[in-house]
Amino acid sequence: MSTPHIDIDYVANLARIDLSDDEKAKLGSQLDDILGYFDKLNSVDVDGVEPMAHAHKVFNVWREGDQPGATYAPEVLTKMAPESRDNQVVVPKVVE
């Protein structure tokens, strides 16, 4: 791996986070240091090693004979929203 460098604008857009110019400058250099440290991983041979995503074997779980249970009243959930009206969440206009 060549010297790592994060294109901070590109990644911040992927992550949907608005960063100030100061934040970009600070994060950029810190992340380059951290990625440099990650290069340690290249010191080990991983050919033929099965990737491990989880501590135990996990399988998709299908519920059997599941009965629908009680759910929350709409107002309980819409009360948490930053803006709501008539038991619905209000968002800025998304379609031109």
């Binding site: 791996m1 994060i6 901070i8 990644v11 911040a12 992927l14 992550a15 949907r16 986070i17 608005d18 960063l19 100030s20 934040e23 994060l27 810190q30 992340l31 240091d33 951290i34 990625l35 440290y37 990650f38 340690k40 991983l41 290249n42 010191s43 080990v44 991983v46 090693v49 099965e50 990737p51 491990m52 995503a53 989880h54 501590a55 135990h56 996990v58 779980v61 519920r63 929350y72 309980v76 959930l77 948490m80 929203a81 930053p82 803006e83 969440v89 968002v91 800025p92 206009k93 998304v94």
Partner: protein, 488 residues
Amino acid sequence: MSDLHFKTITELAAMLEAGDTTSVAITQAVIDRTAAVDDRVKAFLASDADDALAQAEASDARRAAGKSLGPLDGIPIGIKDTLAVKDQPLRCASKMLENYVSPYDATCITKLREAGAVIWGRLNMDEFAMGSSTENSAYQTTANPWNLETIPGGSSGGSAAALAAGEAIATLGTDTGGSIRQPAALCGVVGMKPTYGLISRYGLVAFASSLDQVGPFARTVEDAALLMEAMLSKDDLDSTSIAPQGETNYAAALKETKGPWKLGVPQEFFGQGIDPEVKANIENAIDWYKSQGCEIVDISLPHSELAVPVYYIVATAEASSNLARFDGVRYGHRSEEAKDALTLFTKSRGEGFGDEVKRRIILGTYVLSSGYYDAYYLRAQKVRRLILSDFEKAFEQVDAILTPTSPTPAFKRGERADDPLAMYLSDIYTISVNLAGLPAISVPSGFTESGLPIGLQVIGKAFGEADMFAVAHSFEQGHEYYKATPKL
């Protein structure tokens, strides 16, 4: 009946049983202690004394009616601000969730309520559990009760500090890379991370789902064992929850004479970066086990130096996905500058998240992004398996593994705040355990010359909690460091 707030669960349970105290008296003692010291410790983000006292009254009424629910009935347990408690704030110490109130109880809370525990307060933490010093809280920094100039560790720093300061009889935390064990070591209390899957994660705000576990902080190993027993459950609401296996009457099992054990000591954990006082302290602990007839086996965990990079790739990748839910739409912070769908997301997240959370989301997004996935994320997943294999080989020879919990005692507040990499290295002895899904406990092992606590980590086999508790318990009973309390 002075100092109820510094007693253990087992001591208080015996007093309650004998009619020598009440849950209201214990709960009031903890509330009074919190009022007296928390302006200096700053462990609590919120607390509801009336609610706690109402729970205590209900406990006393149960007991009076001969319907006590067991040793936890009436005991005030402090809760980390990442676990859902119905009708209480759940902020994860983040501005993102400043106004959020939980509509339900986490499964671990439900289980504690079934055991009669008094659910008490919201304890400070690093924002979204990302940090090792509790300095990343958006609300306040917590002090270590043993030296207010130093950090309590993190991310469950509020849980460790509150317990050490006598502001709760026990507390709950969460441990993704050491977030229970490291603060427990730095604050001189017991902290335990269970085998992955043993405690339901339902109602725990997800950081890195393949690593996160709920666990107890307590004054003694026996108290931690009691809390673990109460929280065990195979939970349909968490698909990674696993039915308990083997011996699960942890506290009762401690009473049986066990050992001597074969204990492994990995040389990789005593090399570069360890504080000389910590090293000498842990070597003394190992000598103590030897003096008790245990066989000490030199083992090797050759990939352990890669645990930090593996962890910070896997955990940030999972975090970048988990924290995508905070989008300003259904709950949490929404920017007033949001003009359309895109700025609704970007502005709300930019304003709502703190520096470390942003740093980790950006890092996690990067390691998962096209062109870098194989070099970082896939490679890290492969090395994760090598780390697990190291442990599996070691456990063919030994019953448990002994290590320091943290390479250093508590450091000064602010000392590592601008150096994320130095902060990440505080977890060097704890994170491989999360990557492998194993149980581990930190038990107080003494103090530095300047009076800061040190912790010994005992790592067990998967589902080997009973043996792990027994190994830690024997050391604790041989030393009784837990009887020391900080002067505040």
